[in-house]
């Protein structure tokens, strides 16, 4: 029933992207988002598209995984497109038919927003597709460590994320079992209006919560009995270090941002 849920969509591989340090990848992803938002004119956008396609090919992740990441956008993308297309009423009038009027700015904005969203989702999903959840949280912890000066709980946050990720499959499996146990008692999750359906979830949610609290308690006990006392003085099994490819990747990203800024300013308009 719930077996189809996949989280932590990591695809094992040995591409350049897989070998990058997780810290590099997190920082580069932030830089990538900045680059996408820096694009001010649609004529400049192809450089982002080319970069995104190049990196996707470099990751050697099957394209079907990328499409899977884009699938949740299948409603919002057309909606954004249509809203921009019809609601922006500046620029030259391009098409007029019955009550519909399409203006030049509307068309440009519609294309722009769709491209922006699609490239954002593709680029950021490459991070989770090529990085194990553990490496991701490790990297995040390392990056947030400087914030400890202002008492930011970097280690605790990373540990919480790790535990959460670890227990998602367990919870899914348990929800499935609880659902079956209640179905066997004649529970009906599929018919009725929205209020009735929401009410039908109670017999699933309560055992799920009760069991989760019990499990959290047991886990805390098990961690404490192995002398866990937070991140102080704790060493890592895997020590990450920046390598040459990390530097190269950073340079490529810097070039991308620089060219976006320059093209924004100096590229001749094609309109």
């Amino acid at each position: 029933m719930l077996k189809d849920i996949t989280l932590g969509q990591y695809v094992p591989g040995d591409s350049v992207l897989h070998r990058l340090d997780p810290r590099t990848k997190i920082l580069l992803m932030v830089a990538y988002i900045v680059a996408v938002f820096l694009v001010k004119r649609i004529e400049v956008f192809p450089i982002i598209i080319i970069f995104t396609i190049a990196v996707t090919l470099l990751s050697r992740v099957r394209l079907s995984y990328i499409f899977k990441a884009l699938k949740p956008m299948k409603l919002i993308l057309p909606l954004m497109f249509l809203m921009n297309l019809f609601l922006i009423k500046t620029g030259d009038l391009l098409v007029e038919w019955w009550i519909f009027r399409i203006y030049k700015d509307g068309l440009i904005n519609a294309v722009f927003i769709v491209l922006r969203l699609a490239t954002l989702v593709t680029g950021t999903s490459l991070l989770t597709l090529t990085t194990t959840p553990i490496a991701l949280t490790d990297g995040l912890e390392k990056l947030l460590t400087p914030l400890k000066i202002i008492k930011f709980p970097a280690h605790e946050l990373a540990m919480m994320m790790t535990i959460a990720l670890r227990f998602i499959p367990t919870l899914v499996e348990e929800a499935d079992k609880i659902m079956k146990a209640q179905l066997a008692r004649g529970a009906d999750f599929e018919s009725g209006n929205i209020i009735k359906r929401a009410k039908a979830m109670i017999p699933i949610l309560i055992p799920l919560f009760v069991n989760s609290f019990r499990r959290a308690d047991e886990l805390a006990m098990a961690m404490e009995s192995r002398c866990y006392h937070g991140g102080e003085g704790r060493t890592k099994m895997r020590v990450y270090s920046f390598k040459l490819i990390d530097l190269l990747a950073a340079i490529v990203m810097a070039l991308l941002i620089a060219s976006v800024i320059l093209l924004n300013k100096y590229m001749p308009s094609i309109w």
Binding site: K177, K180, A184, R185, G186, I206, P207
Partner: protein
């Protein structure tokens, strides 16, 4: 009418890299009124198999019919499911309401009975599983002990008055006295309700005493099907499948290996003691 299982096969995630055949080509009939035991090692497919009996899982191929209702058909499934009560291994997966009585009432309420009928059935079910309504009806199910929770979960199913009662590892994780109590409860329920009991276990001991017929599952397939006498005459074979043989059967086997003529059909304490008495009398 019986439960008829024909050529049942269930494959998890078919046509993917993770394809896994959990149950393969099982054909058997569970007769009305019998105590049917299913034993098998962890991962032998017994849990997957029993979930087909009340339509919680659909066969990849083959069919399951309960009293003539085809469980693959959505409309007929509801009728079939009402006849097959399923008690899961862990009561924690099922108890949710604020009081034991409300929780036990969940099943009959879903079946659409009137409020007073629901209450009467639920109170009776509690009494049948040995939970005194006076004491337990208004308690929270989360305050109960492990054994009491199991009884409450059982009552939740009994209140629906199923014709077939499927129990998944009802004795797992209980101490010997708890196991005996649950087994006694199951037997008394069977006498009182005249229902068919289908009990799943990985331990032969659990089913040795009460089951009239036993199916042995191994690696998703039906390995053997027969009366306890037939099944337990193959104790050695069953041990090689990773099953725990009843202690008495193991003792008899050890005695046989040392040249003592213990008959093959001795696998319960009662029979062993009887045999020993007879033998001592003759000697």
């Amino acid at each position: 009418m019986p439960i008829v299982v024909e050529k049942l096969t269930h494959t998890y995630m078919p046509n993917t890299d993770n394809e896994f055949v959990a149950v393969e080509d099982i054909t058997l009939t569970i007769n009305e009124g019998e105590f049917f035991g299913i034993i098998g090692h962890t991962g032998s497919g017994k849990s997957t198999f029993i979930q087909h009996l009340n339509g919680l899982m659909q066969p990849t191929s083959g069919s399951v019919t309960v009293d003539g209702f085809d469980m693959s058909d959505k409309k007929q499934r509801a009728k079939g499911r009402a006849r097959v009560g399923m008690v899961f291994q862990y009561p924690d997966y099922q108890l949710f309401d604020s009081t034991v009585l409300d929780d036990v009432s969940f099943g009959p309420k879903n079946m659409g009975f009137a409020a007073d009928e629901v209450k009467q059935r639920s109170l009776e079910a509690m009494r049948m599983v040995g939970l005194d309504p006076e004491v337990f009806a208004e308690k929270s199910p989360f305050e109960l002990s492990g054994g009491e929770k199991r009884r409450a979960a059982l009552a939740g199913i009994i209140a629906m008055r199923p014709k077939y009662l499927v129990l998944d590892e009802p004795m797992a994780g209980l101490d010997p006295s708890g196991r005996r109590e649950i087994l006694a409860t199951i037997n008394s329920l069977r006498d009182e309700l005249k229902c068919t009991v289908i009990m799943v276990s990985h331990s032969m001991e659990d089913v040795a005493h009460s089951a009239e017929r036993i199916a042995v599952m191994n690696d998703g397939k039906l390995y053997a099907l027969g009366t306890p006498d037939e099944i337990f005459s193959k104790t050695n074979e069953l041990i090689s499948l990773g099953l725990d043989a009843p202690r008495t059967a193991r003792l008899a086997q050890l005695l046989r290996e040392r040249g003592c003529d213990v008959p093959e059909d001795i696998y319960t304490n009662e029979r062993f003691v009887e045999w020993l008495k007879r033998r001592m009398k003759n000697a």
